[in-house]
């Protein structure tokens, strides 16, 4: 069951503060890295919502995010809508797409569920790839960014856009935590633990699964719209199943079902990619080895492992007999004398 522990809050706050400081003190490349991390972290939180707390491992999440990116692109470039309307459209379309995937796949389990979500993703990819209106394999260029000049914020500036993405990451985290703490989130955890028993308690499981996918789609759509604004370009590559695979790697590396873990995983993966690709052209091997290490070392991931370590230390300390300080003992001896 989800609990927003002080460790979760502190870790997330520390990551956010660190990324903000890196944005403000680093160069242009640092800002690009922070944007990549924020966009990936939002998508990872979105996946953790259904995979970590709902037990639904999806390989179609890249497509949900990609649908959001394309909705933003189509609304702004093809229909001439404002970026705000494009952003809302992206979120709504991704939520609807997510809910549709959830509703159709809810009755499948295990490998069949994974394959069904992947099939949805690949269908979306082919649809976009073959669509002349959406630019086919050339994609759509010339996307605008949100205009916040009224508030004195210039999102064309990399620093401002990076901080804006971090603010939306924080908002995503707060909303996801609130959802997981709600009655809906509790029921979702119950479904993950024992779907059949929840059904016997009167819960219409497929509706909750579809709704969870829909909520997850809101965040995935936001992530896609931000990715589209970042590069000001969308292409079918955004919808491939390898994107979904990478997000799943991020969630597992950080800690499945921990909410904070996927954010830590996004930071780790983006920096690891950056550092290791500078060292060797075989950097994928390093990422693969990291994933294997994360899985074989208990499967808790970076944050999950940290949480477990701290919990066990605290439990060990609370079981240890209290040792009086030397000074206190001396004082007692003197008093007795």
């Amino acid at each position: 069951m989800f609990r927003q522990t002080p460790l979760k809050t502190l870790t997330f706050a520390a990551i956010l503060a660190g990324l903000a400081a890196y944005t403000l003190t680093g160069g242009t490349f640092a800002k690009e890295l922070v944007i990549d991390i924020a966009v990936l972290a939002i998508l990872a939180i979105s996946l953790d919502l259904i995979a970590g707390y709902g037990g639904m491992i999806s390989l179609g999440h890249g497509a949900v995010s990609g649908a959001g990116a394309y909705a933003f692109a189509a609304a702004t470039v093809l229909l001439g809508a404002s970026p705000v309307a494009g952003l809302l459209g992206a979120i709504l379309l991704a939520a609807a797409f997510g809910a549709a995937i959830g509703a159709v796949t809810a009755r499948t389990r295990g490998i069949y569920f994974i394959m069904a979500t992947m099939a949805f993703g690949q269908m979306a990819y082919v649809l976009v790839f073959d669509s002349k209106v959406l630019g086919g394999d050339d994609g759509l260029p010339g996307l605008p960014r949100l205009d916040l000049s009224g508030a004195g914020i210039d999102l064309q500036s990399p620093a401002s856009f990076a901080l804006f993405c971090l603010a939306l990451l924080a908002l995503t985290y707060v909303l996801a935590a609130a959802l997981l703490r709600s009655g809906f989130g509790r029921t979702l955890c119950g479904i993950r633990e024992n779907e059949d028993r929840m059904r016997a308690l009167g819960v219409t499981v497929w509706r909750f699964k579809a709704a969870a996918f829909g909520f997850s789609g809101v965040f995935a759509g936001l992530s896609g719209a931000l990715a589209a604004q970042h590069t000001m370009f969308v292409s079918p590559e955004l919808l491939t199943w390898t994107v979904s695979g990478e997000v799943l790697v991020v969630v597992i590396l950080g800690g499945l079902g921990t909410l904070t873990g996927p954010v830590a995983g996004a930071v780790f993966l983006v920096f690891l990619k950056h550092v290791s690709s500078g060292l060797t052209s075989y950097w994928h091997l390093i990422i693969g080895l990291s994933l294997i290490l994360a899985v074989v070392s208990g499967g808790r991931g970076i944050y999950g492992g940290l949480e477990k370590y701290i919990e066990s230390r605290l439990a060990h300390r609370s079981k240890s007999p209290v040792r009086p300080r030397e000074g206190a003992v001396a004082a007692e001896v003197q008093a007795d004398a």
Binding site: M1, A178, L179, R181, S182, G183, F184, R186, T187, C189, G190, E193, N194, D196, R197, M198, R199, A200, L201, G202, V203, T204, V205, F208
Partner: protein, 248 residues
């Protein structure tokens, strides 16, 4: 309250439930007896909606629920406990009971409030925990609880869902004498308007709490009567109780 009309269930050429009919009035406690393989658990699965009957009809509170889903029947007030523990093993005892209570109260879909933090849910969970003897164990992780505690929780989850009709599939299965005695007291203490259908191999327990008894054999209901009539029935003695006279 709960009625089975000529209920049949076949798996291929094997007929597991064969024309079973009975009617439970509100507040009635009925035990279903029968040797292993008589079709008792299959009957429960049909009544709860986990299996669809090959033919026949099931009525709950006067409504035909034969084609209703498990969850729809549960929302109409039908709850069950399982022969093999079917718990939320990754959660605590309190969370198990609270999930059941929140679902029954309709708080499971709340988006802006925590269902488990609700005063009403906590009250139900604490009341049921006290009822089934788990009052001091609300924070205990289920995975670390002994078997007996899990059996108590199995019954507790069913009770926390505030049912009108409770199906109990061998609640004393695998339990020691102390727990059977506690279960006996619990069943006697339940509100009289709660309708209970129970499968139980512990004869003392079944005969003491049941108003009526249905005996199944090879999927057929071969006998129905009061506990006293059941004790005296030569047919029941022959097919199931065998040495009941010496036992009594």
């Amino acid at each position: 309250m709960l009625e089975a009309i000529d209920l049949c269930k076949s798996f291929g050429s094997l007929t597991v439930t064969n024309g079973v009919s009975f009617r439970l009035e509100k507040g009635e406690r009925r035990a279903v007896l029968g040797p292993n393989g008589a079709g008792k658990t299959t009957l429960f699965n049909l009544l709860a909606g986990q299996l669809a009957p090959s033919s026949g009809e099931i009525r709950l509170d006067g409504k035909n629920v034969t084609s209703c889903s498990v969850e729809a029947r549960a929302r109409m007030g039908l709850a069950r406990s399982y022969q093999k523990n079917n718990l939320f093993n990754g959660l605590t005892v309190g969370e198990n009971l609270s999930l059941a209570a929140a679902s029954a109260l309709g708080y499971g879909g709340w988006l802006l409030r925590d269902s488990l933090g609700s005063k009403r849910v906590r009250e139900v969970a604490e009341d049921v925990a006290a009822q089934v003897g788990l009052a001091g164990l609300l924070d205990a992780p289920v995975a670390q609880c002994p078997y007996g505690t899990r059996r108590q929780l199995e019954v507790g989850i069913a009770l926390a869902s505030r049912p009108k009709v409770l199906l109990m599939d061998e609640p004393a299965s695998g339990a020691g004498p102390g727990m059977i005695e506690a279960l006996h007291r619990l069943l006697k203490s339940l509100p009289r308007d709660l309708t209970i259908l129970i499968i139980e191999h512990d004869m003392d327990l079944a005969f003491d709490i049941a108003d009526r008894i249905t005996v199944l054999n090879y999927g057929k209901a071969v006998f129905e009567g009061t506990p006293e009539e059941t004790r005296k029935s030569p047919l029941v003695g022959e097919i199931y109780l065998g040495d009941w006279d010496s036992h009594a």
